[in-house]
Amino acid sequence: MSDPMGGTMTRAGAGADTGSTADAAERAHRYRRVRAAMAERELDVLLAFAPGWRRENVRYLTDAALAASAAMALVPAAGEPSAFSARRADLPGIAGAGWVSDVHSLDLPEASALTDRLRAARPNRIGIAHLELLPLMLAQAVRQAVPAAEIVSATALMDDVRLVKSDWEIARMRRTAEVCAAGWQAFVDVLEPGLPEYRIVAEVESELKRLGAEDNFMLIASGGDDVRGMTAPGPRPLERGDMVRTELTPQLNGYWLQICRSAVVGEPSEGQRRSFELFNAAVEAGLSVVRPGVTAHEVAKAQNDVFRARGYGEYCTSQYTRVRGHGHGLHLDETPIIEGNKTVLPEGAVFIVHPNTYTPLAGYHVLGDPVVVTNTGYEVLVATERKLFSTAEPGESAGSTESTASADEGRSS
């Protein structure tokens, strides 16, 4: 390490040969994919930018957890990559992960370590992943470093590269799935009349962190058929008869996975049961079309057709909610499952099928399972039963309205 404020980390011998064989193979696989995509687009340099809320691409290239408000990875068409973080505490972690050996502070606003390497690369064409989020100060630093270079967005390039998960990645996501299930159980266990929404989140978050989650994306809503969507929690205390909905999305070892469920405080009403039946049918319909090569559009349409056939088609429009799921991986909200999205979902793609929307039956309903596309169809990744949970039912065995899907089944033919 160099001087205290410079924060440069150089790890002799770091790189693919310092990790396990599997890690080294995964690193080589990723860099091959990225460089092939760069060659297709005639990029001399790929810069991946990670603002505080979109770190997926830098993580993909470094396999390191980041805390910085700004980080970068630089991949030249040939030669070793470099990584930069504005958070000093990130640097040992990046170097320690062993995927990138040239690690430096991202000293804002000059970003001199980054711009020095950019100049040295003398690129004609640079692709920047998350160029759309690059702050003016960094954009100017890059532009001044290589004034003659053409700069284009590489956000879609990296989205494409990350779409198909390797076995190495899916193994990590299976672990996240276990934490998902435990988080949902903690959610159900804590529900009782009088408990404010934010206290539910506190207990769930505590359990997720106890299990090693790095982060969590979670929205919540409680109440009756007037609930139109989910948000951050408020002070509203739960009442008997409330349906409590959540999207719970822990991140573990970089990988996010979501579970969507709703639970009733007390005995479900007839409307809540009918709502569950409708949404469960939509989930089943969405799952039924999943096979290698299906498009996001087709998965969304299969779900929406259930609503349309039962007279609830208007609740799948932009006036309510159009998104019928989304991809998962190092970002929690990858390609959207929505009508009109022609993205092909090959074997190894991971996404959640969730028809979450409002209907007058019971208000906003949340239900969905994450799946991985297999060579024959799909596999549901979470083991949590798909049912309308109720605090009136003893233990976990309750629920007269249950589906048949679980992590052990669910392959379409």
Partner: protein, 387 residues
């Protein structure tokens, strides 16, 4: 995503104060000849917008449009179905949703005569959004502005300070509990999450970093309403042994832990009105020279107004004098030659050196009273507080 409590409570911040915040910005706009200002925020960095409206950008991005005269309007990429909730939890009544800010701005300003559009804290705006606005509003002059709103957040109001004190007590309590013996690092993190979120924090970041000798640093950064607090404590890393009374508590623990704590105390002593971040660091340096050979040490002052980004965009401000009444986190961090990291930190209120209680007072120490005086409880974060 921000997933803690979001609430608008006029008993905490009176309605007039919210109005005054917007009015102060509008007066500045009028002076500078700006017809309307846009303030950008995303889930990671939205305190300017929160300060002006109490809006919580719990995910995605948003732009608050503040005309020189009239009511602010919020433009967001979030769905319209959250408008009702946003109106309930903020001072904004007009919200517009869309997929991009260019068309939203065009729609908002379409009926107005072109003038000057100011972008607040422009250097942090996504450059392509700036380009998009320029293309969408060709007749408007886009003017890049400085940190007009952040500058007003640097010294908290009485209401904000009361909230910071409340939050500080919660952080102090959580830090002490997380230092109890017999807990695994993940259990310590879990405990802090439960304490802070259960007390109504909006955002929480907790890390457990280990030094090479097994001592664990629990570092807590949390957002209570729109104020930020940080504390870090040393605890024994091994489950079933040590605890706050070991590495953290003064007696026992490695010698370097005492050095680190003494360095923090010296830095806090130096954090008085008129001092700079550089001066705060300099006060600790002689003490930190006693750390093990090869250790690299950092002393940081980060204003609470900048903690959402850990002050990573404000490093140029290290020589700026600290004003009386400002609140910030003082931290001392060591990276050891053999690997591992340790950190101690507290959030302090900078007093007036000419007043009776000049110097800084810790807000995140257990036993901190309403008057800001600390009561030493033996916890590592509490010794040496300036009085």
């Amino acid at each position: 995503v921000k997933r803690g409590l979001v609430v608008l409570d006029h008993a905490e911040i009176p309605a007039e104060e919210w109005t005054d915040r917007v009015r102060a910005l509008q007066e500045r706009l009028a002076v500078e000849g700006i017809d309307i200002a846009f303030v950008y925020g995303d889930v990671h960095r939205s305190d300017d917008i929160g300060y002006l409206t109490n809006l919580c950008i719990y995910w995605n991005e948003g732009v608050l449009a503040v005309p020189a005269e009239g009511e602010p309007v919020f433009l967001t990429k979030l769905s319209p179905r959250v408008h009702r909730w946003m109106r309930r939890t903020s001072t904004v009544s007009e919200l517009r949703s869309g997929r991009a800010f260019g068309p939203l701005a065009q729609e908002l300003l379409g009926g107005r005569a072109p003038g000057v559009l100011g972008l607040v804290d422009a250097r942090r705006w996504p450059s392509l959004v700036v380009d998009e606005l320029a293309a969408a509003l060709p007749a408007w002059e886009l003017r890049l502005l400085g940190d007009l709103v952040r500058d007003r957040r640097v010294i908290p109001s009485a209401g904000e300070l009361a909230l910071l004190r409340d939050g500080g007590r919660v952080v102090a309590r959580a830090a002490r509990q997380a230092g109890e013996p017999g807990l695994a690092p993940a259990a310590r993190v879990a405990l802090v999450e439960s304490e802070l979120r259960g007390a109504g924090f909006t955002d929480v970041f907790v890390t457990a970093a280990a030094a090479d000798d097994g001592v664990v640093s629990i570092e807590i950064t949390g957002q209570y309403r729109h104020g930020w607090l940080r504390a870090a404590r040393l605890v024994s890393g091994a489950a079933g042994a040590g605890g706050a009374g070991g590495a953290g508590g003064g007696a026992g623990g490695p010698a370097w832990a005492s050095v680190l704590r003494a360095g923090l105390a010296a830095a806090i002593d130096a954090a008085s009105a008129g001092a700079s971040a550089t001066g705060v660091a300099a006060a600790a340096e002689p003490i930190l020279g006693e750390l093990p050979a090869g250790a690299t040490c950092y002393v940081d002052w980060i204003n609470q107004a900048d903690l959402s980004t850990n002050g990573e965009y404000e490093r140029h401000a290290r020589h700026t004098p600290l004003p009386a009444g400002t609140v910030g986190a003082v931290s001392v961090e060591a990276l050891f030659a053999a690997g591992g990291r340790a950190v101690v930190a507290d959030t302090v209120l900078v007093g007036d050196v000419l007043a009776d209680h000049g110097g800084a007072r810790r807000l995140t120490a257990v036993g901190t009273g309403d008057d800001g005086d600390d009561e030493d409880d033996g916890n590592d974060g509490n010794d040496g507080a300036a009085r």
